[in-house]
């Protein structure tokens, strides 16, 4: 165990390890690109769907079941399947990661919308606000904390799962995990795993900091 950690220290701090197309710098950039782009695409799909379901109250059954369906979908199988169908393109990675992220965002957005006090909604309508105004100026701001929770959860899952991309010959930090597995080089596997975990934790902290800055005027997120 000690040897492994010592090796990890040397692996992470070696300057040659950070440079070049197989260097940590490049792999990190690839990993961030897969994760952030996939989460953005997922948000672009899932947020309107979640808001619409929450606003109209229709399709709640779909929202709830979608989340357990999404959790059950085996990412490895999905990546391989899309890879076999589409050949060597970026589709397998993005389709699998977006499919992973959409359910968390839809369910949390929906949950945020249902948590909005109906009296507040009625008051907004009573004041003569139009439906889109109620949605954008009243419901959306009140639902934002839970929406952000969904986005953070999705991002963590996507960052951890983007590792799988390396199996179908893509880059990202998963390269180290799969190459290390093939070469029986545990230091490399550990290095890749630690980097992925650090990226996930840092991105999560960054989003929660963003959330605090954006809503600092609000006394409490539960109110």
């Amino acid at each position: 165990m000690y040897e492994l950690l010592k090796g990890l220290g040397a692996w992470l701090t070696g300057s040659e390890q950070w440079a070049g197309s197989d260097g940590i710098g490049h792999r990190l950039a690839e990993h961030l690109q897969y994760s952030l782009l996939a989460t953005l695409i997922a948000a672009a799909i899932a947020l309107p769907v979640g808001l619409l379901i929450g606003h109209t109250g229709r399709g709640a059954f779909i929202a709830i079941n979608l989340s357990s369906f999404g959790r059950a979908l085996p990412t490895v199988g999905l990546v391989v399947l899309v890879f076999l169908v589409s050949g060597l393109s970026m589709w397998p990675v993005y389709i699998a990661l977006v499919a992973l992220a959409v359910p968390s965002i839809v369910t949390n957005t929906y949950a945020g919308m249902t948590a909005v006090d109906p009296e507040v909604r009625d008051a907004a309508r009573g004041q003569g606000m139009r439906p889109h105004q109620v949605l954008l100026q009243v419901e959306l701001p009140l639902a934002l904390p839970l929406i952000m929770t969904g986005l953070r959860l999705a991002l963590i899952q996507v960052v951890a799962t983007a590792t799988i991309a390396a199996y179908v010959s893509f880059g990202g930090l998963g390269r180290y995990v799969f190459d290390g597995l093939a070469q029986r080089d545990l230091v490399q596997v550990l290095g890749g795993a630690v980097l992925v975990a650090v990226v996930a934790v840092v991105l999560d902290l960054a989003l929660s900091a963003l959330q605090r800055v954006l809503f600092r005027h609000r006394p409490s997120t539960t109110a």
Binding site: S68, F69, R71, A72, L73, P74, T75, V76, G77, L78, V80, L81, F83, L84, V85, I156, V159, A160, T161, T163, I164, Y167, V168, G174, V177, F178, G180, L181, L186, V189, L190, G192, A193, V196, A197, A200, V201, D204
Partner: protein, 216 residues
């Protein structure tokens, strides 16, 4: 992309064996996860200071890619079922721990005081009052953990296990989509059936939640 039905017909025995092995790995992991998270959750619920530490730790474990966990366990337990089960158990912890703590938190203070006033000892209160009342929230966690474990078993295919996940590597290596499609569909079905059974189990275990609704 067309499904080769004759391949499926020729491999029904293999598919049954893989499905059972898949289910066994996932269920063992969830049971172990419950065994580990129950005492931890009680500690996190009672000792405020340890709560953040335990929940934070399980959150960090969740960010480590599952494939890496399996590979890093190889020096400890080798290419065995044990490695698969330990790896999966680690992932179930984050959901099980959080939900069990939340479940225990949701028990009204008045109920616990009433138990105390009646002279019920702390351990007995925990087992006969707090845990049963926390059961709906705990069961919600068990459902999520089970579905997650069933989906994650396939990652262990990279260390030579993985139940239905073996169909994914098999299909990938032979450039043959049928096993991959069958693997995805069977995994989804397994998760669906397991979830439905857990809903039924919860219905049977918590009769008082129904009686309340009828009385209201």
């Amino acid at each position: 992309m067309s499904v080769d039905w004759s391949w499926i017909a020729d491999h029904t025995d293999d598919l049954t064996a893989l499905t059972l092995s898949h289910l066994q790995a996932a269920l063992t992991a969830v049971l172990l996860g419950l065994l580990v998270s129950l005492p931890l959750a009680v500690v996190a619920h009672r000792v405020r200071r340890l709560r953040g530490l335990l929940l934070g730790l399980s959150n960090v474990l969740f960010t480590i890619p599952s494939i890496a966990v399996f590979v890093l366990l190889l020096p400890v337990s080798g290419l065995t079922r044990t490695t698969t089960v330990i790896g999966l158990t680690i992932y179930t912890l984050v959901v099980l721990l959080r939900n069990t703590v939340e479940g225990l938190d949701s028990v009204p203070a008045k109920t616990k005081e009433a138990a105390k006033a009646m002279g019920t000892r702390p351990l007995r209160t925990l087992l006969t009052v707090e845990l049963p009342l926390a059961l709906p929230v705990i069961m919600a966690g068990v459902r999520i953990a089970t579905v997650m474990a069933i989906s994650l078993v396939s990652v262990a295919t990279y260390i030579g296990d993985g139940g239905l996940g073996q169909l994914f590597t098999d299909g990938f290596q032979r450039n043959f989509p049928t096993p991959v499609i069958v693997g995805v569909v069977l995994t989804l079905l397994l998760a669906l059936v397991a979830d439905a059974l857990l809903v039924t189990l919860q219905y049977v275990l918590t009769p008082w939640t129904r009686r309340q609704k009828q009385g209201a």
